[in-house]
Amino acid sequence: MKALHHRQEICTGCLACEIACSTAYFKTEDRNKSSIRILNNDNTFHANICTQCGECINMCTAHAIYRDRNGVVRINKHLCVGCMGCVGFCSELAMHYSDDLPEPFKCIACGICVKACPEGALEILMSKS
């Protein structure tokens, strides 16, 4: 299973990852449209990212969430009804939404932010699912 990982000891909080993500998927430089969120805790930078745990899969009220062939958890936009149940249920608080988007969005371990990070604090790791 593919998942994005963040190393807080390297992260400088520059937010290049957030800009890269929201630009790639929503054509805007907007933290609120990024699937990675960097949180500043007294100058230590944690990342809020989807761990691909898959808890949302069984609770989805439209059966719209699934794992792709890399084990990444994805939303099928054709089936999603915008109930935001997954946003409320995510234990990691890593399922995001915006009022102008019909479906929630999440990290799909695409690697765009990995390339954008000037410090090399992000990487995509494969693990046994």
Binding site: T61, V81, G82, C83, M84, G85, S91
Partner: protein, 710 residues
């Protein structure tokens, strides 16, 4: 290929803030299809859902209309919040008609997808009037704007087969099945007055059609009497803004807050996601409130055999979304999958059985003296597929069983059925007889009110005893809660509009255990506030369970934790967010009260809305028999002392029973006085002109009905 009788093309109205603005009228005899405007007046006074249903039904019928008159209508409507996806319990439909059991309007609140899909297809409400010559099916394609009425010969009778076949027929492929919903009943509905309607939804995980029920009042009986075999709707494209809400951001915000609360707290509270409403079975047993053997006692040493844990461990699929509409994270509609049937025409097959809900385990279990979980589930399956109202069935059969055990009727009178308490096989055989229209089935299917008369006249039963133990009010059977020690709940059942269904008020714990409503005024307030609050859900397309089957973590700090103030505020916010209106929690109650008063006056119009019709059988109020008195002797003796200043040690058992009865019957009358006053009614239960004026409901059509009684 079925013969098409009528085709109708229309332009589906765009939904504006929860309303399509149009309703659909179909006369199934003449095959006449009409579109009606939903007016601002209707939205203002009646809101939607049950309000719209009653408004249309009023205009369709006369005081002479009976359930099988052609002009009787089945009307259904979701309501302005019906079909939103962001909050829990938002897919309900309200169905109304003149009931075969009561002769007054019944209103029934049902889940499943039909009502929301109907609205998105362009119809705020659907009226079905007249009678077809032969069985018909009505199909609405809400994306294409197409209505087809076709002959429905060659289709199975029973819902689990019928809805599965129709869902497959009308869906383009597997993925499209979730966009189809079927309204149907079953083979018993032609033979009993307690027939119900199933509203389907397709479960893509289980790959099977499932149902919720518009159960009470005999709607399925009317459906088949009109020769309607099924209604099918198809609509594709549901999103969070399909209702075109005025304020989507608020809907999202409030919904997410509620989902998070469900995630964090449900396991610690009622575990609705695991077990649904059946979580209360053992609580009720422990508090001596589980109706057992026709409401004689409050529990049984064997109740643990039908405890929630048994169903969770041995029967119910766990851990996947179950809910009966999108967005419901309470997800309380459980199923037993691959359940093998042992009796009847489907014996040997493995089926999906919904439930058991609390009513099922209490009614088909404890109240019939049956403590076998397999039998509870199998009876549930057959009630569902045969189209029988489970509550009316359970309370009726409980009555029959007690009559038999007390030798008021004989086995021969029942066509050889050995319907004693605990005999699950006999109960199942009775259901199969109802399906086939044979044996004792049709007689039992008449319901308690008519059965009492027949047992007395035909079999020589004791009229007074049967009046006491036959648990019906206004002709509808009581739902499954032992309330004989709760004066407030006696009112909660009898002082209702449609009959003793607990959707109006559920006050047993508040009254008996919490002792929160000790005075008549306290009880009268509760029997004003809670019915008005709880029936508001039926105007809007909402389910009551998410209101208080989970509460916020800080609810215990509020002044009125029983009202769950944060959730009341949620409802105010989402109502305004959808409709663009600006109600507050006070106006919410008034919205509901307008329709409540309308329904009361509708009852008066139909000949049954006065004080005499709000009376209750004595089994509802206190111990009828010696065994009942002795089962709670300590409590009853203490009450004779404390409440009446009598000395039980000097009284015979029969004297004690008589004195207890006289006291309790008097208490019920005093309660009725207080409740009527609080509701703005005369002492005969008639809404006053003053109250109607205060509500803005002093409509000439209503004043005409009440004036002769004032």
């Amino acid at each position: 290929m079925s013969k098409i009788l009528k085709e109708y093309t229309y332009t589906p109205a765009k939904i504006d803030k929860g309303y399509s603005g149009k309703s659909l009228y179909i006369h199934v005899g003449d095959l006449r299809i009409e579109e009606k405007e939903v007016t601002e007046f209707m939205k203002e006074k009646f809101v939607g859902g049950k309000g719209f249903d009653l408004w249309y039904l009023w205009h369709a019928v006369t005081p002479e209309t009976r359930w099988d008159s052609p002009e009787n209508e089945i009307v259904m409507s979701a309501g302005p919040l019906g079909g939103i996806t962001q909050y829990s319990g938002t897919g309900k439909t309200l169905v109304c008609a003149i009931s075969p059991l009561t002769d007054i309007p019944i209103d029934s609140n049902v889940g499943g997808y039909y009502g929301p899909l109907l609205k998105f297809s362009g119809w705020d409400a659907l009226e079905l009037q007249g009678k077809a010559d032969k069985d018909i099916l009505i199909f609405i394609d809400g994306n294409k704007g197409h209505i087809i009425i076709e002959e429905a010969d060659d289709l199975p009778e029973d819902s689990h087969l019928l809805a599965e076949e129709l869902t497959s027929r009308y869906a383009e492929n597997e993925q499209d099945k979730v966009n189809v919903s079927v309204v149907s009943t079953g083979s018993a509905a032609k033979h009993v007055l307690m027939g119900m309607l199933n509203f389907s939804f397709y479960d893509p995980r289980r790959k099977t059609v499932r149902f919720k029920q518009a159960a009470r009042g005999g709607l399925g009986t009317i459906f088949r009497d009109k020769h309607i075999k099924a209604l099918v709707v198809k609509y594709k494209g549901i999103k969070g803004d399909t209702n075109n809400p005025a304020d989507l951001a608020t809907l999202n915000r409030v919904g997410i807050k509620y989902h998070k609360q469900m995630h964090d707290l449900d396991d610690k509270q009622n575990a609705m996601r695991k077990i649904g409403t059946a979580n209360t079975i053992m609580v009720m047993d422990k508090y001596d409130l589980l109706p057992t053997r026709n409401f004689q006692t409050g529990g049984d040493p064997d109740a643990y055999k039908i405890s929630p844990q048994v169903f969770i461990n041995e029967y119910l699929t766990q851990g996947i979304h179950d809910g009966c509409w999108y967005g419901c994270t309470m997800s309380c509609a459980k199923t037993a999958d691959h359940f093998p049937l042992k009796t009847g025409p489907y014996a040997g097959q493995c089926v999906t059985v919904d439930g058991p809900e609390y009513e099922c385990a209490a009614g088909l279990g404890a109240n019939l003296g049956i403590f076998d979980p397999q039998a509870v589930l199998e009876q549930n399956f057959y009630c569902d597929t045969y189209g029988i109202d489970l509550i009316s069935y359970a309370t009726t059969v409980a009555f029959i069983m007690e009559c038999y055990e007390r030798e008021e009727i004989s086995q021969e009178d029942m066509g050889g059925l050995d319907l004693r308490f605990g005999n699950a096989q006999a109960s199942l055989e009775l259901m199969h007889q109802m399906s086939r229209g044979e044996g004792f089935g049709p007689l039992a299917g008449l319901g308690i009110k008519k059965l009492k008369k027949i047992f007395v006249e035909r079999f020589g039963a004791d009229e007074n005893l049967l009046d006491d133990i036959g648990m019906e009010n206004k002709g509808l059977e009581y739902s499954e809660y032992l309330h004989k020690e709760s004066l407030a709940q006696q009112g909660g059942f009898a002082l209702t509009n449609k009959g003793p269904q607990h959707d109006e008020a559920w006050l047993i714990f508040m009254d008996m255990v919490n002792n929160q409503i000790p005075s008549f005024e306290d009880k009268a307030y509760a029997l004003y506030y809670y019915p008005m609050f709880r029936t508001w859900f039926g105007l809007c397309g909402l389910c009551k369970l998410p209101w208080n089957d989970i509460v916020p973590a800080d609810n215990y700090l509020t002044d009125t934790p029983a009202k769950v103030p944060e959730h009341v505020q949620n409802y105010v916010e989402i109502f305004n967010a959808v409709t663009g209106k600006n109600i507050d929690k006070e106006e919410l109650i008034l919205q509901s009260e307008r329709v409540y008063q309308f329904q009361r006056i509708f009852n008066i119009r139909m000949g049954k809305g006065l004080r005499e019709h709000d009376s209750a059988p004595y089994r509802s109020m206190g111990p009828v028999t010696r065994e009942e008195y002795l089962s709670r002797q300590e409590r009853y003796d203490k009450q004779l002392q404390e409440l009446q200043g009598l000395d039980p040690s000097t009284m015979t058992l029969d004297e004690k029973i008589a004195k207890t009865r006289a006291y309790r019957e008097k208490q019920f009358e005093l309660l009725t006085d207080a409740v009527y006053k609080r509701r703005g009614w005369t002492n005969n239960g008639v809404p006053t002109i003053e109250r109607l004026q205060e509500l803005g409901m002093d409509l000439p059509m209503l004043l005409e009905i009440i004036k002769p009684h004032l």
